[in-house]
């Protein structure tokens, strides 16, 4: 009986290893190739930082990177505030399944549908498209993600803490600042990090609502890889992977955001 159990576990573990190979093989390959002097995927020309140098001189890409930081930073700030308020409202002030479902919509709606809807809307308003139109668009789904994560955090702690504070004479605002906010801060940070990552990486909606000559990083990468393999993208991938993996590990350490990862 016991040996049979062990056998099954082993087959599952082999499966697990294969899945991790599938998930990480392509990523590791890109990292290795980024140091290949030849820039070819099939022949090793020795270790080199040549493609990183190439990248540093690619001003279009650097500008796109800065654009993405602006879009992601702006949309994260706004959605962290609005999303947190919304989370508190949905968790404490109004209990409604209909509202819950409504706030869930931006997370599940196919991005192409939201993209064409927003493009139509902006052009009806004769808005000039630019970084800010992407930012406005990204806030839509970022609000939903922040609200979802902050709500999880809110549902963990006991509302009687807030009641106690108010019974002891603290105003609503003081209670929020002294009790609620510190308790949900890890949730807000986790939500903001998620929002930033999604916004920084978002391609479809940005592609539709970007102004001419102001691409975000994903738009720039898209135009580079559309026509096949370019070695400096490997170097860029490595840098992006390194930044996102480090920031996620740091965030996990800081806030113990286990539920999010």
């Amino acid at each position: 009986m016991r040996s049979k159990f062990l056998k099954r576990v082993r087959a599952l573990d082999v499966h697990l290893v294969l899945v991790y190979l599938f998930l990480y093989g392509p990523i590791v390959m890109l990292i290795v190739l980024s140091f290949n002097e030849l820039g070819l995927p099939t022949a090793w020309g020795g270790f080199s930082l040549k493609w990183y140098g190439e990248l540093a001189r690619n001003t279009a890409l650097l500008n796109a990177g800065i654009n993405s930081l602006i879009v992601a930073g702006g949309s994260t700030l706004v959605s962290a505030v609005i999303g947190t308020l919304l989370a508190i409202g949905l968790e404490r002030a109004v209990r409604s399944t209909l509202l819950d479902a409504f706030v869930f919509v931006p997370m599940i709606i196919p991005d192409i549908v939201l993209a064409i809807a927003l493009l139509s809307f902006y052009s009806l308003l004769k808005m000039r498209l630019g970084l800010y139109s992407i930012m406005l668009s990204h806030i839509v789904f970022n609000i939903a993600f922040v609200a979802a994560i902050v709500r999880t955090r809110l549902s963990y702690f006991d509302p009687s803490l807030e009641e106690a504070s108010m019974d002891l004479g603290a105003t609503q605002i003081k209670t929020f600042l002294k009790i609620t906010l510190p308790l949900i801060l890890p949730g807000i940070m986790a939500g903001a990090l998620l929002a930033f990552t999604i916004s920084f990486d978002e391609f479809v909606i940005a592609f539709f609502t970007a102004g001419p000559g102001q691409p975000t990083l994903p738009i720039q990468i898209y135009s580079m890889v559309r026509f096949g393999v370019t070695p400096d993208v490997n170097a860029l991938s490595t840098i992006i992977l390194f930044i996102s993996i480090t920031s996620i590990l740091v965030a996990q350490r800081l806030s113990g955001m286990r539920g999010v990862l």
Binding site: Y24, L30, A117, F121, D201, I221, V225
Partner: protein
């Protein structure tokens, strides 16, 4: 009154944002889908059902069916691969679970475009896989691995497999292992235990994961564009084409609502199934 002010401050900004940047734009393209296209893009405000009739033209219908087929195959494969993965993680030693799960979620935090690009490097004619197969003497001519339906499915599976594993994990982890043991003690063989106990009790995770994979696969346009080479058009490509190239917004809008209605039907089915499952669970207790 005070209560109302509080609700307004908390819910007002968020709900207002969603109304302005989600509801109004959606209503706008819904109305566009009933109008005629303008000669130079835009719309002419003249009612027509032409855009919806066109959804049933052979070309559009074929693209819809191709997209559905690709999304169904991707979801099926994700389930076949994801279930044992989630099961293995959920039954691993407790101190390992968080790490193992984190490793599944980690790729999600890196650029989706770059992860898709990696498959161009792997699959193209001069790519890594062809190179190694030829080196090993298994093939003598490079295989056309890229720019076909196979490549699209691999790309989608690669991108969305974590979306399947995470909800599956949480439903399997909640499962009481004693139930399985009881079934085994009563003489049920492992496969029977799986199909009569484990699977039905984790069905909610199966449904949630399937929707998380199916929906973004169905409307995808990046993966078919990069890995499908545009030859195998999916519905996302067609919508993009109608909007940005053909400048036929009403027809693109109608297609978008075609996709939306499929998604909506799935979500309603999910809500119904979840209700049924929860009722069933309550009755069992």
């Amino acid at each position: 009154m005070k209560k109302f002010t509080q609700q307004l401050v908390l819910l007002g900004p968020g709900l207002a944002w969603l109304v302005v940047f989600l509801v109004i734009p959606l209503v706008l393209i819904l109305s566009y889908s009933f109008f005629r296209r303008g000669p130079y893009g835009g719309v002419v405000y003249e009612f027509t059902l032409k855009n919806y009739k066109q959804l049933f033209s052979p070309l559009v219908l074929r693209v819809f069916l191709t997209s559905l087929r690709i999304a169904v195959i991707t979801t099926g494969l994700a389930l076949l691969i994801g279930y044992p993965t989630a099961y293995a993680i959920a039954t691993a030693a407790p101190q390992w679970r968080t790490t193992l799960l984190g490793l599944v979620a980690l790729p999600f935090w890196t650029s989706y475009l770059i992860r898709t690009y990696a498959w161009i490097v792997l699959l193209n004619r001069e790519g890594v896989i062809n190179h190694f197969l030829m080196r090993l003497g298994i093939i003598h001519e490079p295989l056309g691995l890229l720019y076909n339906e196979f490549a699209i499915i691999i790309g989608l599976l690669y991108g969305y497999l974590p979306f399947m594993i995470l909800p599956l994990y949480s439903s399997i982890e909640r499962l009481n292992p004693e139930l399985r043991e009881a079934a085994a003690d009563l003489g049920a063989p492992p496969l029977k235990t799986f199909f009569t106990v484990t699977l039905p009790l984790t069905l909610q995770g199966v449904i949630a994961g399937s929707i998380f994979v199916f929906v973004p696969s169905l409307g995808n346009f990046v993966v078919p564009e990069l890995l499908g080479g545009g030859r195998r058009l999916m519905i996302g490509n067609l919508i993009q084409n109608r909007f940005l190239k053909a400048r036929d917004w009403p027809s693109g809008a109608a297609m978008a609502f075609g996709v939306m209605s499929i998604v909506l039907i799935l979500l309603l089915l999910q809500a119904w199934a979840t209700n049924r499952l929860q009722e069933g669970g309550a009755n069992a207790e």
